[in-house]
């Protein structure tokens, strides 16, 4: 078991001689290469005046040779989707998929912010109040619990549909995708919900999204690596029948997997609405796809059973670097999506190629 693992399919086995480093190392190398590419562009492109993306040798604005502001935003801008991608990672490892997380963010944000509103805005009554005076200035735990319970409910429905009615996860969560977007629009008939209490605004202010992302990543890392829950998730994703026969309660486990994913997405909604001081029905658009892309770039296999939280975190970093890099080199907005798509596909193609080579023994 030390040299051979059963994670492959069709008798393909892990060959240590051909695969000297873990999968995550690939992602890390890709990350470094992308950073180097942007640094090179900063030197080469004539209009860039030899600027560096992550370093700051000349002006020394932050008191170090690093461009601390840039490094912060690289992580900050992917933290919220990163939180979702942690949950999506364990869903994909279990052999499923969750398309509902983006709209769930929108719906949860609307619900959460409705319970997190403050009474007075510049001395006047909150012009965006959803409920009556009773809902003003509630303790911060109320919106948090409202959001997490909503997430748990949605995840429970997703998981139960998949486990008990046996409809494919793609379809179940696609239906939930539409339902959640509907809920987010219906909640206030499309009106934004704004002006939170100070306590609520503190949840996502400054670098707090990064703190939450880091804490949750560490937590999920331990859960997936060292607990029975994690081992069962990998087992179900690798071979569901074998997992069932070895005594794992597959149905119950799947419900749990989707509940955790949706609660993480709901938590992302709490952080997102707090950071932006507003909730809007259109929030979270494409988040489900970006979260899946982060996991896949991080080496999580869509066929299930393979991947890790470390990989997903690195995948999120790749996203952050690309996004900041585009702004750094002032890439015209019209080319950004094309470049982003190309990089996503390229990263996965390279990973597939390496895996096939290492398993072809």
């Amino acid at each position: 078991m030390a040299d051979q693992t059963s994670h492959g399919i069709g008798g393909l086995t892990y060959d240590k001689s051909k695969r000297a480093w873990p999968n995550e190392a690939n992602v890390f190398i890709a990350l470094v290469l992308i950073i180097l590419a942007f640094e090179a562009l900063g030197q080469i492109l004539p209009y860039m005046n030899s600027q560096s993306m992550l370093f700051d040798f000349n002006t020394n604005r932050d008191g170090t040779i690093l461009n601390v502001a840039r490094i912060k935003i690289v992580i900050l801008q992917v933290s919220i989707i990163g939180i979702i991608s942690l949950g999506v990672t364990q869903v994909i490892i279990s052999g499923g998929i969750d398309l509902s997380s983006g709209p769930l963010v929108g719906a949860a944000a609307m619900i959460v912010m409705s319970f997190g509103q403050t009474e007075l805005v510049n001395g006047q009554i909150n012009p965006k109040a959803v409920f009556g005076p009773w809902a003003f200035d509630l303790p911060v735990i109320v919106p948090i619990l409202a959001g997490l319970s909503f997430g748990a409910l949605i995840g429970c429905v997703n998981g139960s549909l998949i486990a008990f009615t046996r409809i494919p996860p793609f379809i179940a969560t696609l239906g939930m995708f539409l339902i959640c977007r509907g809920i987010s629009q219906w909640w206030t008939k499309g009106q934004p919900v704004s002006f939170p209490t100070e306590q609520f605004a503190a949840i996502g202010s400054g670098m707090m999204p990064v703190v939450w992302f880091a804490l949750l990543a560490v937590l999920l890392f331990f859960i997936m690596k060292f607990t029975v829950y994690g081992k069962h998730t990998y087992a179900i994703g690798s071979n569901e029948d074998a997992a069932r026969m070895s005594g794992i309660n597959v149905k119950r486990h799947k419900v749990l997997v989707y509940m955790i994913a949706s609660m993480l997405a709901a938590f992302a909604a709490i952080v997102l609405s707090s950071k932006n001081l507003t909730a809007q029905a259109g929030m979270g658009q494409f988040y489900e796809l970006y979260a899946i892309a982060m996991a896949v770039i991080g080496g999580v296999s869509l066929t299930g059973g393979r991947g890790s939280i470390v990989g997903t975190v690195l995948g999120a970093m790749v996203f952050g670097v690309i996004q900041s890099g585009f702004t750094f080199i002032k890439l015209d907005a019209f080319y950004q999506l094309m470049a982003m798509g190309t990089i996503i596909i390229g990263a996965v193609v390279l990973d597939q190629y390496r895996q096939q080579r290492s398993m072809a023994g």
Binding site: A69, Q77, Q280, F328
Partner: protein, 314 residues
């Protein structure tokens, strides 16, 4: 006896349909703040009238779905249709569908590509998009001048969704104003899209701040992005008195930011006015009255000086 009851019932049904006018409305999408105010403008105007029933549908930003909705409205025999087009270049088919059925049609908010060839029983109600970006940018230009930057100022430009007509037009307005002699002292450092979103604008602004460039103004295509930029600048410790920030829409959130001294300029587009204007045009057309084919509801500049007039508007 039975027959008389049925006949009476039919007669009453007929008479109510004869009195009540049914207006079908197809909105480009529901989860857009501005379009929600517009939609509410239609509904409130209709609620204030007798015998007007409006049925509002969400095209979910899907051109094909919108055309289906229009055909469904025609099939169910509405008296007039209001369309807030998803795609302004796909409006000819809608015009054709309505005119061949003889149903009056009013386009609202977004200018259809065939606006100059609309048949007599069709009209277009909106604000003239050229005004918004121009008012915003010109005011920013005047403010920068007044603050003594007439010798040279630098600005960032935040664009809305690149496929959206308003974003394209407002960005062009910015370029046009900055090309004028009076305002050409302003240099644009970079212009990027933040897709109308506060979250994306926050990230974009933070990225710009990381490059450490000196700048004096942020010109955004809408208020949400202006607010995202403000949040990023405040998080980085900038004094908002040193930066001129402008948006468009005069949302409640934006007005609150203006009261707090963070936002300097916004432009009020009378969404409710467009909604009620569209409904009135549709009713007039349904009754066979003459209507101007282009009804423009003016944009209005909002600054700290006149903010009081707008606090209860949106």
């Amino acid at each position: 006896m039975k027959k008389t009851i049925i006949a009476a019932g039919l007669a009453s049904l007929l008479s109510t349909t004869a009195i009540a006018e049914n207006i079908g409305v197809s909105m480009a999408l529901f989860d857009d703040n501005f379009l929600t105010v517009l939609r509410n403008g239609i509904e409130e105007e209709a609620n204030g009238m007798d015998g007007i029933d409006v049925q509002i549908e969400d095209a979910q930003n899907d051109v094909a779905r919108q055309l289906d909705q229009i055909n469904n409205f025609i099939a169910s025999g509405v008296d007039a249709i209001i369309v807030n087009p998803v795609d302004t270049s796909a409006t000819q088919a809608m015009t054709d569908a309505a005119s061949s059925a003889g149903v009056p049609l009013v386009f609202v908010n977004r200018q259809p590509v065939n606006v100059d060839t609309l048949p007599d029983n069709q009209a277009f109600v909106a604000s003239n998009e050229i005004e918004s970006g121009t008012l915003e940018t010109f005011e920013i230009c005047k403010m920068l001048r007044a603050q003594g930057f007439g010798g040279g100022a630098r600005a960032y430009v935040m664009m809305g969704e690149l496929s959206n007509q308003a974003a394209v037009q407002r960005t062009k307005d910015i370029e046009d104003v900055l090309g004028m002699d009076m305002c050409n002292f302003i240099e644009v450092i970079d212009q990027q899209t933040a897709n109308w979103s506060r979250e994306q604008a926050n990230s974009l602004m933070t990225n710009w701040l990381a490059s450490g460039e000196d700048f004096h103004a942020v010109i955004a295509n809408n208020d949400e992005m202006a607010l995202g930029a403000i949040q990023a600048m405040k998080a980085a410790g900038l004094d908002m008195a040193d930066v001129v920030v402008g948006g468009v829409d005069a949302t409640q959130d934006a007005l609150a930011a203006m009261q707090a001294g963070d936002l300097d300029v916004t432009v009020f587009q009378n969404a409710g006015g467009q909604g009620s204007g569209a409904l009135n045009a549709a009713i007039a057309l349904a009754n066979g009255e003459e209507v101007d084919q282009k009804v423009y509801i003016p944009f209005e500049l909002v600054t700290p000086a006149n903010i009081g007039d707008y606090l209860s508007q949106n």
